[in-house]
C-alpha cells in the first residue's frame, strides 16, 4: 500500500520569504498527485494536481507554484509568501482513491 510523506511537519516563515514543501510517495508508481490547502473554517481547497512528471494543473490563481520533478515527488513552492498563505497543506495521492499525507502546518508572520 502507498505511504505519503510530507516535509516539514511545521513551518514558520516571515512574509516575503520563499517556500518549499515536499511530498513523496512510496508503494505505487505513476500516481495522480494533489496539493490541498486547509484554512480554518474553510474546508479543503485544491491548489494543484499532477497526472505525471512535469505535468501540473493549477486550480486557483495565487502566488504558489508546484512542480513534479520525479514520478513520486511533488513540490509546492512560493517565491514570496503572503500572510494569507498560512494554513495546513495536504498532499494526496490517487491510486484507487485519494489518500492523504500527514500535512504541513505553515504559519506566515
Amino acid at each position: 500500500s502507498q505511504t505519503i510523506h510530507q516535509w516539514p511537519a511545521t513551518l514558520v516563515q516571515p512574509v516575503g520569504s520563499p517556500l518549499s514543501l515536499e511530498c513523496t510517495v512510496e508503494g505505487t508508481s505513476n500516481p495522480n498527485l494533489y496539493w490541498y490547502r486547509q484554512a480554518a473554517g474553510r474546508g479543503l481547497q485544491l491548489l494543484f494536481y499532477s497526472v505525471g512528471i512535469g505535468q501540473i494543473s493549477s486550480e486557483v490563481p495565487q502566488n504558489l507554484s508546484a512542480s513534479r520533478p520525479q514520478d513520486r515527488q511533488f513540490i509546492l513552492s512560493s517565491k514570496k509568501l503572503l500572510l494569507s498563505d498560512s494554513g495546513f497543506y495536504l498532499c494526496a495521492c490517487k491510486v484507487e482513491t485519494q489518500y492523504f499525507g500527514p500535512g504541513t502546518r505553515l504559519l506566515v508572520l
Partner: protein, 117 residues
C-alpha cells in the same frame, strides 16, 4: 459545477449514542462519494467510499454510509459512538468517469464531532 454540503458544522453526542452526519451533493451524473476523518493536526483518513452497487457501504471503525440517489445524500452513521471518534469529518465527491483524468475531489466544509463521556 459539483458541490457538497454538510449542513452541520458542529455536532455533540454522548458516548454510546448513535450518530448520523449529513452530506448532500449537487451533481447531475453519478458521482463517486467518500467520507474522510481528520483528527486535530493530522491528515485525512479514508473511512469509506461508494462507487457503485450496494447503496449501503461499510467502512472502517464501525462506520457505514448510505447512498440515496433520490435525495442526493450520502449520510454517515455509526450505531454507538466512542470517545476516540471525536474528530472532523469530511464528505467528498468526484465525477465518475473512465480514462485519464485528475479525479478531483470536491469536499464539504466538514462537521466537527465532539463526544461527551
Amino acid at each position: 459545477a459539483q458541490s457538497v454540503t454538510q449542513p452541520d458544522i458542529h455536532i455533540t453526542v454522548s458516548e454510546g449514542a448513535s450518530l448520523e452526519l449529513r452530506c448532500n451533493y449537487s451533481y447531475g451524473a453519478t458521482p463517486y462519494l467518500f467520507w474522510y476523518v481528520q483528527s486535530p493536526g493530522q491528515g485525512l483518513q479514508l473511512l469509506l467510499k461508494y462507487f457503485s452497487g450496494d447503496t449501503l457501504v461499510q467502512g472502517i471503525k464501525g462506520f457505514e454510509a448510505e447512498f440515496k440517489r433520490s435525495q442526493s445524500s450520502f449520510n454517515l452513521r455509526k450505531p454507538s459512538v466512542h470517545w476516540s471518534d471525536a474528530a472532523e469529518y469530511f464528505c467528498a465527491v468526484t465525477i465518475a468517469y473512465s480514462g485519464a483524468g485528475s479525479y478531483q475531489l470536491t469536499f464539504g466544509k466538514g462537521t466537527k464531532l465532539s463526544v461527551i463521556p
